[in-house]
Symmetry: C2
Subunit: 410 residues, 2 copies
Amino acid sequence: MAGTGREFFTVKTVAQALGEFRPRHRTAVETVTLSAAAGRVPVDEVRAQQPLPGFDRSSVDGFAVRAQDTFGATDAIPAYLQIVGQVRMGAAADAAVSAETAVAVPTGGMLPTGADAVVMIEHTQEAMPGTIEVTRPVAPGEGIVRGDEDLAPGATIVRPGRPMRAQDVAMLAACGIVELAVHARPRVAIIATGDEIVAPETATLPPGHVRDALSVPIGALVTEAGGQPTASAIVPDDRDALQDTLQRAIGFSDLVVICAGSSVGGRDETAAAVDGLPHAEIWCHGLAIKPGKPTLLAHSDGIPIIGLPGNPRSALVVFRLIGMPLVRRVAGIIAQPRPGTVRARLARNLPSAAGRLDVVQVRLNGDRAEPLFGPSALLSVLTAADGYLIVPEDANGLSDGDPVDVFVYD
Amino acid sequence: MAGTGREFFTVKTVAQALGEFRPRHRTAVETVTLSAAAGRVPVDEVRAQQPLPGFDRSSVDGFAVRAQDTFGATDAIPAYLQIVGQVRMGAAADAAVSAETAVAVPTGGMLPTGADAVVMIEHTQEAMPGTIEVTRPVAPGEGIVRGDEDLAPGATIVRPGRPMRAQDVAMLAACGIVELAVHARPRVAIIATGDEIVAPETATLPPGHVRDALSVPIGALVTEAGGQPTASAIVPDDRDALQDTLQRAIGFSDLVVICAGSSVGGRDETAAAVDGLPHAEIWCHGLAIKPGKPTLLAHSDGIPIIGLPGNPRSALVVFRLIGMPLVRRVAGIIAQPRPGTVRARLARNLPSAAGRLDVVQVRLNGDRAEPLFGPSALLSVLTAADGYLIVPEDANGLSDGDPVDVFVYD
């Protein structure tokens, strides 16, 4: 009776899972408008057709001049220039600058013909009506943004495989690009398995039952990673029922998440059901991570399937570390984001077994990171945490006072 | 002619703006279902009505026993127990444990009456059909999650004023709480001003004009901060037209953003138009930040108004630092998130004036942070950046090789 069900035949490290588990499926291509483009992943490189800002502009409020007319100007010996016009915002500069003349120009205004610099208004004084004194010289190009300085024709605006940030959509807007081809958001099916699982809206629990605590938060993490949870189902610990549900899910999903039973029986049924899918490959059954060892990574015809541990806390830890990067990859993202951390000092000794990556929940108290312990069945350890730290595979634990990097939940 | 328009009469620091600019308006209260709850801000504290998991459960696959029956058990001298039943997942435990007996129980199964511990299956062997040998003692409580161990009645599930994270909605799901009262998402009106500004979809630019590069990315940052951009408009540099638009925007918005003209004239019109709104107070006109000095913070009857600098790059920098926290505050968020950073070494000297906070865009090259320079009119400096670092007010610059914390754009 003892034994076989608890063995993990194909245990991999987290680094292996992130680097080597590469199912080939990617989401379809769709077109989005600019206002919906932030966070989306371009399919193609987009290059500038025209220069930006498109015309030479003043970068200050002042006077457009020929720089040479200001050379040597000081407070004591200013250069005198005749004002021959004024540029209005949003209009062509209709006056031209010639020797010993100046044209008033606001920040962002078009540079008049003949001018090669703009003197800031602070470095001028009105000598008499229609004439200014310039009290500091300007070099050619000073006070000016060249017409192709922000973007030259042919320059790259956005790259494929990298989610667009606010500044990227700003540049697209500036260029007049108001729609573009992006990867569709990954549709993610979330399947909870277990004879003991009932829907969250169940008011009174039958004996021995618990509510599905995972489908909704996993859906939230899917959304955070740029995907969309499309369907969720609760399936009993029955191989045929699970395989049937999986088969249908594979048909309309880009990624499938199974919140697997935590008992040996539940895990066995999950692995067997996945193995029976078309063109299925179980890539690993067991991860060198704590909590989260009973994780299954597989694919069916290139569509990734992640079988999460049954304990809600372990499942959420594994989905953050492994599932969210998978959602991003399916969406065509090439380089995963570098998550930021907050520095802290460990508030107690933290033993850890070498060869296994430990994810330790912590509460932040000033600059001290206080580890939170408890069975991995407890969600409350996660809700009490401000973030987590990672004890890598090659470490034998950490000591009280050690500097640590905390990944903060926001 | 020189002077007055360029002066900033009420310059504040970034720390003052974040700590002391506190318009009183908050969004309304609405009810959301659980699947839409992640990231939303609860209005009230929510406490547990019932314990979780709700019944004593096994945390391992094994045998429920009386701990005392295993005391002293070893490989050499095991304890022999008679199997008197088996617990199924999702069912009441119908067998009871008495002296010298055991009941098989899966992970998550209900603990049978009479048992006070569960022996892991790895520490047992089948001695003969119906009898197991236990080869290691268990202490009372071992292998068990108590019925109120995850959550005791009366314990806090979520707190008001803090956005709900994945684990918080997991706990709500486990408790069967499928809707709750949250602050509505802040509706944010975005108004671009300037005679030179045309809509992004303008295919051919008239002379001296540029496309509105700010409304869309500011909208994206609003969304990222939990708000929703509700309306955008482009208004010429005309005080009455702007005041009219502002007045209407105030009527249906929780926060108003003005992407102000960058010329003196444009700034003057913005300040005057804001000042003319009902119960208006201009809190600051000028921030000690580079880039971004020409920032205006005001409110009309408690509804915050942020006037951004005209340069798109400055505007995006200021909106990240000041605008996003304002959106969160209006949504009822009490404690702002602690953003994580990536450590790097500065790749060159970085001069900076004391008394002013400098936001420096950087490209990350391995562990080196390479500052990007260029006029603040250039969006391309932002699109080329991987993140930014902050040189605080009290620093006189940083040196090549200094360790720096980089806030990464994702």
